[in-house]
Symmetry: C2
Subunit: 233 residues, 2 copies
């Protein structure tokens, strides 16, 4: 590293990192209600975890609480936003403007939360050139040029599964180092790139597992030919 700007880079466990955004949301809610401080107990209720976990998680950020009192809401919001990198905006590119990509492009919540959608790309000539939410859809071949000039940090893949890996590779070549993949397929990235995935079919199948375990009666039988027969052996 070039200079020792941080004395101690705290190592925050992955499981904790995954909960920080939920804490932040709860804290913003508490701040909106005008609460000056909040206890781990109360924060746990708001975020759906338990108090011990909250305290342990917050302790990784530093000793920001006051014993006998709780945590200063505004201060904790500040520290957590800083830790999450939310003090700057991260520009986003969405690749693939089918059903889902279109909905994501129209969703105002991203910009509002510090993730402005700076570019849209697609491979389909019928989609390229159309305008969505005030932004023109560009051809995916322009990705590298666009990413460079727009300082794009995060890529969202909303393409069909077959295109996902190539799109990811192109994004990475264009300097994108965080990817959120909605395509129902495995995408592999080098270790210096972060990847998260959201797969709706997977979520439904997980629910299906427990639903079935419960022996729940709702649901219609599939026609027999829709199921796969075991092999002869």
């Amino acid at each position: 590293m070039a200079e020792g700007s941080k004395r101690h880079v705290r190592k925050i466990p992955e499981a904790t990192v995954n909960r920080l955004p939920i804490y932040l949301r709860s804290l913003l809610e508490a701040a909106g209600d005008g609460l000056p401080t909040i206890s781990s107990e109360r924060l746990a209720e708001l975020s759906g975890f338990n108090a011990a976990k909250v305290r342990k998680d917050l302790s990784y950020l530093g000793s920001y609480g006051t014993r006998g009192v709780g945590y200063d809401v505004e201060y904790l919001v500040f520290q957590m936003s800083r830790e999450l990198g939310l003090t700057k905006e991260w520009h986003v590119v969405i690749a693939g403007l089918g059903n889902l990509g279109h909905a994501l492009a129209n969703y105002g919540g991203f910009t509002e939360r510090g993730f402005p959608v700076a570019a849209l790309v697609d491979a389909d000539p019928k989609v390229v050139g159309t305008e969505i939410n005030g932004l023109e859809v560009r051809h995916i071949d322009e990705l590298e040029a666009i990413a460079g000039s727009h300082q794009i940090a995060i890529g969202i893949i909303a393409t069909p599964a077959a295109a996902a890996q190539e799109v990811a590779d192109r994004m990475i070549a264009a300097g994108v180092s965080s990817i959120l993949n909605f395509a129902p397929t495995i995408v592999t990235v080098p270790p210096e790139v972060s990847l998260r995935k959201v797969d709706l079919a997977v979520e439904l199948q997980i629910l299906s597992f427990y639903q079935q375990r419960r022996g729940a009666e709702a649901g219609a039988a599939l026609p027999p030919e829709a199921t796969v027969a075991p092999p002869a052996g």
Copy 2:
């Protein structure tokens, strides 16, 4: 339970359950390529895990492999589909037909994978009565009647955060016992109901954490007034 159809109800760890849909997808891919058998090594590559984990996971389903050979692809697909409850269809209701709900309702992939969208509900009188993908949007007050007559097992919440808990409560009252929540808020459900959540802003914030850690340079600075100041103390 009515009869002892399963001698031993195997306890499959949650972490394993979460991976089963990925294995299934990889197996279907292998089956499509005409492979009769697959090794744990190869399945691991296709699903993005490692061979030891694959073997341990599959061992919870039963000893379906053949030493020296691998796993019979078709047979494993069959067993896994059964375990996941995918031999019947699970009817789905989508609540909230804004941007995201609309996109989900138009998405054909659900029906295709055994989760037909059987009903759409919303509270907004401007949306109620419109038709999406051949399905009329009904008023949420009709939820109980609809869920009963359509044998609906799974509810998808795509409403604004403020409405999510009430919608979940109504779904549960109507007999829905699996819920997928897209609203950016905590929803609590009784223990006999399964809940999974997908939160886009949370995913982006997690990516932001690692992006920032990396000291990545992409991204524009927010105006100073958009950040929160620490308290005077």
